[in-house]
Amino acid sequence: MFKTICALLGDPVNPMISMCALPVAGGVLACLSRGRSRGALRMAVALLFGAANLVFALSLYLGGGASGALALGVQGLELRLAVSGIAALMLPFAGLLFLIVAVYAASWFHKREGGGAYMLLLFISLGMLNGALMADNLGVLLFFWEGLLCTLFGLLLIGRRENSKAAVKALALSGTADLILMLGILATARLAGSASMSEIAARPLSADGPGALGCACMLLGAMGKAGAMPFHSWIPEAASDAPAPFLAAFPGSLEKIAGIYLATRIVTDLYEFAPGSPMSLFVMVAGAVTLFFGVAMALIQKDMRRLLSYHAISQVGYMLLGIGTGLPVGIAGGVFHMMNNALYKTGLFVAAGAIEDQTGTTDLHKLGGLRRAMPVTAACFFVCALSIAGVPGTNGFFSKELIFDAALESGTIFYVAALAGAFMTAASFLKLGGAAFFSEARLPQGRRNIREARLGILIPAVLLAALCVLFGAYNALPLQTLIGPALGDAHIHAGWPENGTLVLLSSAVLLLALADHVYGRKKGGGALAAADHIHYAPGIKQAYALAERGLLDPYNWLMAAANGFSAACAWIEGGVTWFYDKAVPGLVTGTGQTLRRFWNGSVSRYLIIAVAGVACICLIFLLAALGEVAP
């Protein structure tokens, strides 16, 4: 028995298979927890299975990776798993974040309905994410990738069966992205003659010419998972009423890890991604558009969840902009920014969830002065907010500076877009922080007093904030110890940014945002209205009105295109139906009626018809005979 267990653990495939199967088992256990102590049981499962997953992931990372295969028996599909490089780094990182969000979820659902189903789907999502990170075969990657879509759809339906718009939207947009990824994967595998990522990485494909289809489609698939434009619009929809832990886990961290991991693999391993190439431009434009318009929408939000959800979109833009440059500094910056974002964005969502848990609302009109009632939450919020705003010395600052550096080298326009994004990010967090924590104390209707959040929610928030501080104060740890070796990048990006001018410009932009906030606050009469002078500025007001009416929502475009196509199909179908239902029966009955006219009892008419018939037959025989004689 002991020997068998040792043999099982010794085989590298088994820990990897366990990392897919174990979470599913954990989810089932959490789901089956019933009775009064179900909250405690779920917490125990979250801790135990989350920690076990983290141990497996760390053992793979520290062991230098592993690989192994199980045959699936279907053409070209082999369950080949391989952990190395960036995948090996992402596994424990995802495991750590999962542990935090699982604890948070178990605490959040302590007295709420739907916790069992949520925990089940959350755990299955981890299994899928682990599978996607470990997959060496592109088909297997797709398998796990689309599995994440299933759990996403299920999670969005929990407790919201009557309002399924977000779930349907997510399914449509992410489903489209996943199908595009399928095409990209198949085209890539065809071109490379292999679906194994490690084999392709040995001889990367050219991203131009025949490789363009595969590369572009795969990148679109990665963007779809990360929540970049144009696959983003389900996120604000979900932010309105999805459970708070969902926002922390999915748009906050796990989906970003998957999307950016794949984008990085495409750029660094699968394709020769030359800086300045059309493909690089494509990714940078997608990144710049996402970061700019995402944060522009965040700036005008008056609900904490929606505001944060637009930031979840815009931050992906920075990551894509960095990775899209194809420069080592940009790629390292993009990956570092993804890790930072996962920390501070999850932290912000957890803090928002804590506020919602205590006050019952996320509407900023009803909140204010929370720093006194919830000091620890406020402290965590500010650490994360300073990080996302990129205040010098924070982790967000270091990753943004790397991206700015790469963006400037790739084109001034990208750098300007990124700076504009930084301005709006800072402005919107000044507004959010001011409105929720600093304005005069307000209590939502029906609330007598507000207390600090529960321990199960505070611990995740504090942990995330502490990690932000660690990654900022000692950026050599993430950059030099973790990311550099994982990317095989020998450059040293750690320490204070080399380009002092860029730092000065970034700082100036932050000061400008502060000045704008002070001005807007005075003009609008409060922190919540601090961005109104931008929102309602001539020209900009109209653009925002269009966006708020959904006219700029790609989902609506997709549906309009599909409905237009559908109307054209209905027109064609009308013709086909007319042919079967009217034309053919009409022809048959019409012929019958015509022939009936000949049936009038006149012998001479029948005789003429008979003679004509005989004459025809004779003619046919005659022609046939002539034909035989002729040659």
Partner: protein, 471 residues
């Protein structure tokens, strides 16, 4: 002795079906049990033929007849694959029917036609002779005609006639093609004709029959109209079994037997692409629950045809797996639609909503089957779609592969719309009751099967690969 297994597989349901009306006169219970036993027997005989087919020595019976004719049944891997798929889904549908049709007239005829149809299907997949293939083909059309007109209302009869005329007209054109081949080869025996290069005109004539049976644009119009039939019939004929006859014939004739001109390796996928997109567009617009699923069937059949006609191993194996995955999942969807329609007495999805609360098991089964049709892992539909599109790329048609991706996106859209309209949103029928336990168990079984087949895809996958090798 073993050679008689395929004969029994065909004759037991064919002859047994004739006994069902008599059994029904004695006791409906006996008739129902017998009907299930006959379909189960077909499944059991197919299963018994599997080891020999896997070993590459298929069980076969051949009888020489005058005028160069012959009668033969062979249980090769393709025949066994089709027979297993059809009889398995049919058995679930028969169990479902016990609850569904119990309050209607003409039940004796209903069960007789269902079992006769399965017999015809068994004959069709096992036969080695073009004329017998045609005869079983027409027998299936007759069963289909009676079953679509089951309710005997004017509209049902008219739609049944339409289905009959379109498929029979197609079959007659196909027969002309068969006779043309006979004129050139002097035989109807498929094994004797293996490798015979078929002229383009003969391919076009036979394709007419295939496309009409498999409801491919523009010969598809009868299929959405046939939704007037009882739901188990729609499921059996228009999702699981009947419509697969056409694609089976394509595989048997154009991949396994004849050599066809190169042009069809492009022409048929183009027709399939057109059919897939058009019907997906229509599914997005339809408001009749069964019409949406029927248009979806037209669309998915085009995917199957695409795979089978791609001329590559990946595509062919994907196409075969698609037949299986689609039979199970789409059969399940139609049966779920039946439970809904049977309970709320409407097919209009704009009047439905919130049924997930009243019909939790049906809603879950529907969602799982829909996920399989959408091609989401780990369901069997995922592997099928993946391989079909891979096959298209392997055949050097990236543009067609992209078109099919658009078709797949539309599949996601219309199935999500259907699920949301029927099962989500504010409850429209707060007092609706889920069907009988047999009906619910049937849909749950099919949903579970869709999932299990995905998890154990190597079993049907290796059989499909074997079929390709034997071709």
């Amino acid at each position: 002795m073993n050679g008689w297994i395929p004969v029994l597989c065909v004759l037991v349901p064919l002859l047994g079906a004739c006994a069902l009306p008599f059994a029904g006169k004695r006791s409906p219970k006996i008739r129902n049990a017998l009907a299930l036993a006959l379909v189960a027997a077909a499944f059991a005989f197919s299963l018994a033929s599997l080891p020999a087919a896997l070993a590459g020595e298929p069980l076969a019976v051949r009888v020489k007849l005058p005028l160069g004719l012959s009668f033969g049944l062979v249980a090769d891997a393709l025949a066994v694959f089709m027979a297993l798929t059809s009889s398995l889904v049919a058995a679930v549908i028969v169990i479902y029917s016990f609850g569904y049709v119990r309050e209607y007239d003409n039940q004796n005829e209903y069960y007789m036609m269902v079992v006769l149809f399965i017999g015809a299907m068994m004959g069709l997949v096992h036969t080695t002779n073009l004329i017998f293939l045609y005869m079983f083909w027409e027998l299936s059309a007759v069963c289909c005609w009676r079953l679509i007109g089951f309710y005997r209302e004017e509209i049902a009869v008219a739609r049944a006639n339409k289905a009959y005329f379109v498929t029979v007209a197609g079959a007659l054109v196909m027969l002309a093609g068969f006779l043309g081949i006979y004129a050139q080869t002097g035989t109807f025996d498929l094994e004797a004709m293996k490798g015979f290069p078929l002229p383009a005109w003969a391919v076009v004539l036979i394709l007419f029959g295939i496309l009409s049976k498999s409801a491919t644009f523009p010969l598809h119009s009868w299929l959405p109209d046939a939704g007037v039939a009882p739901s188990p019939v729609t499921s059996l004929l228009h999702a699981a079994v009947l419509v697969k006859i056409g694609v089976f014939a394509y595989a048997r004739l154009f991949v396994g037997t004849f050599v066809i001109p190169e042009i069809f390796a492009l022409a048929v996928p183009v027709i399939a692409a057109l059919s897939a997109l058009l019907s997906a567009g229509l599914a997005l617009r339809a408001n009749d629950i069964k019409r949406v699923i029927a248009y979806s069937t037209v669309s998915q059949l085009a995917f199957i045809l695409l795979g089978i006609s791609s001329g590559t191993e990946e595509g062919f194996v994907g196409g075969l797996l698609y037949i299986l995955a689609h039979a199970v999942a789409k059969g399940g969807l139609f049966l779920c639609a039946g439970i809904v329609e049977h309970s709320v007495h409407t097919k209009d999805i704009t009047k439905m909503g919130g049924l997930a609360k009243r019909f939790p098991l049906t809603a879950i089964a529907f969602a799982l089957c829909a996920a399989s049709v959408m091609g989401i892992p780990p369901f069997s539909g995922f592997f099928a779609k993946y391989l079909v599109i891979d096959g298209m790329l392997a055949a050097g048609h990236p543009l067609l592969a992209a078109v099919f991706i658009i078709g797949a996106v539309m599949t996601v859209l219309y199935l999500a719309r259907l699920f949301a309209k029927v099962f989500l949103g504010p409850p429209a029928f707060p007092d609706a009751k889920e069907g009988t336990s047999g009906m619910v168990a049937s849909v749950v079984a099919l949903a579970a099967l869709a999932l299990l087949l995905g998890l154990a895809i190597n079993l049907p996958g290796s059989l499909a690969a074997l079929i390709w090798e034997a071709m």
